[in-house]
Symmetry: C2
């Protein structure tokens, strides 16, 4: 394959003969002409064979070749404004490596279950290409944001000895004679990291065994979690809005073509500029009350509540200071109102729900010990975490952003299952 040219690079081969190694995406004929759409993963190029210009066997192969057959197509690159992508290939030769028979995914409509069962080849469709290229760029943008600000990547462990937010949604495994749990969040470890490196983040898969079949839940999802020493809730909200603006604007800059391919309304994304609105839990509850939503003050917001709260804003909205009861034990209580936690959730606009959860952490040893006891958590599993309050405790804060929900929002997808290459859901572990 020394003579290979990728479709993404054809512009620098205008007028030259090249070979493309790829697959037949689609084709059409008009009598003496064959138009083969060839894809190689980096793009799609229209390749044209004129009956009189090519050998008879080559023209015959253009007729024979089927969808998703693997092919080597040789020919001359020509700039052509009418061609999709701006370049066309004038075929001189076609070699078929494998003639594909009965390719399961045809241009007709397929049901979601069928497509999910064929995820390994559904990935070849142009819509999935656009979504997963946007996902890749979102992940790059997330890393670049923190790397460029001096944060140190501190990978959190996947195997943990204890549950950080309750045991009901934990995946468990036998670990050489003892039990281990799959991480639900790297946060506690990031707190240790922040005390060592000042500013850290982790980025990896996290797991929740939620018996939930909503369009917002995966059992396995990726999360980026920054944590900063000497940071309070206000500083945490500044960081979160700075971060989300950066990611969205970067996608608008670099993935406009893909956003267009999936028909995303980019005007809604253009509005994602600082400052984002900040409202308290009480104010959010008031919104629900005014809209006559059946909501009990003091409880957590459900997905439908979040949608209604965010409806009034055309940017992500940060809801802060929830009642302590609905938040995790490690949240610091608000000194101005100890019934409230110094926490924040960021709700994406257009009904995409919570994309960020975070806040300021409890930094007082005695209070934290009491909270661990009140939550019936095994103290010995948290001794190392308590050490962070014994040895040079400082105010600190951070948050976690869920990648798949962010991809769903930026791409405008109703369900998170298309936001990750191989989704894992309650009833889906194949392929």
């Amino acid at each position: 394959m020394k003579d290979r040219v990728y479709i993404s690079d054809v512009a620098s081969h205008d007028g030259k003969e090249v070979s493309i190694y790829g697959w037949l995406y689609n084709k059409r004929s008009s009598g003496k002409l064959w138009f083969l759409l060839i894809r190689d993963g980096t793009g799609i190029i229209q390749s044209v064979a004129f009956k009189g210009d090519v050998r008879e066997d080559v023209f015959q192969r253009c007729e024979d070749v089927t969808q998703e057959s693997s092919v080597k197509v040789t020919g001359t690159i020509r700039a052509d404004k009418r061609a999709p992508g701006g370049y066309e290939l004038q075929i001189s030769d076609v070699q078929i490596l494998q003639l594909t028979e009965d390719y399961p995914i045809t241009p007709k409509e397929h049901g979601t279950t069928f497509l999910m069962d064929h995820r390994h080849i559904w990935l070849r469709s142009s819509r999935q290409h656009a979504v997963l290229r946007i996902r890749h760029e979102i992940i790059r943008a997330c890393r670049d944001f923190f790397d460029n600000r001096g944060f140190v990547l501190i990978d959190a462990p996947i195997f943990t000895p204890a549950a950080c937010e309750g045991t009901t949604t934990l995946f468990e495994t036998e670990y050489f004679g003892t039990q281990a749990y799959l991480t639900q969040s790297g946060q506690l470890y990031m707190e240790a990291g922040a005390m060592a490196f000042g500013k850290v983040y982790c980025f990896g898969p996290t797991f929740r065994a939620e018996k939930s079949k909503t369009r917002r839940h995966l059992t396995e999802f990726w999360m980026i979690e920054p944590e900063v020493a000497y940071l309070d809730l206000d500083g945490d909200m500044d960081l979160a809005e700075d971060f989300v603006e950066y990611v969205v604007q970067r996608i608008l800059e670099t993935r406009r073509e893909e956003l267009k391919a999936i028909e995303r309304d980019t005007a809604a994304l253009e509005k994602v500029k600082r400052p984002f609105p900040r409202i308290t839990y009480d104010e959010a509850a008031e919104i629900l009350k005014k809209k006559e939503v059946d909501f009990e003050y003091g409880s957590d917001f459900g997905g439908a509540d979040e949608t209604i709260i965010s409806e009034g804003f055309d940017k992500p909205v940060m809801v802060h200071r929830y009642p302590t009861e609905v938040k995790a034990f490690y949240m610091k209580n608000d000194p101005d109102d100890p019934r409230k936690a110094l926490c924040v959730d960021m709700l994406a606009p257009e009904g995409y729900g919570e994309i960020i959860g975070g806040g300021q952490r409890e930094d007082d040893l005695k209070i934290l010990e009491r909270k661990i006891k009140d939550h019936d958590l095994p103290k010995e599993a948290f001794e190392w975490y308590l050490d962070l309050r014994r040895y040079g405790t400082v105010p600190h804060a951070g948050f976690g952003l869920g990648i798949e929900r962010t991809v769903a929002w930026i791409c405008g997808l109703k369900h998170v299952r298309e936001t990750i290459p191989f989704p894992r859901l309650m009833h889906r572990i194949y392929p």
Copy 2:
């Protein structure tokens, strides 16, 4: 903390008064002088208090403050060639947030078990800082290499329905009434990715429940796995050597200070330039025979064998074409000698062992079906994988690079346990 200046930024505040929020790393006195070494995670700055120049209570606090107490230190930045880092802080005020008592890690020597039990605070030491900053940069370099070459990030799933390289070293979990296994490699999924996107990679944690206590094994380790459609073994080796040269040279460019801090012999790393030697399994076995090693031809190399093979080279050496029996079912047989697999292992120099394993994959449906049967693998779990050979199969190849072994080699560490923030070993799951 609006007045905070990070130590990494003091150069742009020369002559100005700033506040550093951090911890006491160490201190020393010479009568009327206190030298406080303050760390804030981004660096360490020497801060000086003259008895006559500061208030009495401030000088007293310099005397009182203990190792790892959290402190806010205010003063004027002065360029000083004698100071470590080139800048010094002339103290005007010291505030102690928490006076730390009995900090467990003192400048004296501690045993490894003690330090590993205190990993959450051991991370604060300057040696661990250097190693983990190098790790971060290695990971960035790995991603940049593939991102800059048009590879698409395709995250592989962690939960898998079947074992790809045997079941004895698998971690298992209950998955809503069925069994799931934690991934040992994303490769099979990357093959689906390569057929869709041409060039892909995944980067995530992988798991092996090996009852192994060697210095090269973790139960949880990170791996980057590229896979390319229309690539043969030679092309795969080209890609691997290009990649490893890039990563090593990037660390020499950007992390020289950290390499110096851990006293790494950088001359050995300077030599890591293409081309790398390529030898066959047979040639490697011949080396062992000449050195009178007790090695049975046809078996896999052990860690000690790898060290002896690599001793003759001052660059990574690529050993290709192992007997098919010692390699996984998906490896393509060498058409010139079907007893051999078109595979390659890259052995790091200086006895650091295998850092890369890869090769060309079997692309023929019938042969692959037979191999799955011969290996007693459950065919139904691999139906999706076989689809990749049914629908447009092409020659393809890839490899996996283990991050922790690469960090160990580049940092010159004898044991992988210090190469990851929170190592997981057979007998270690805490903190």
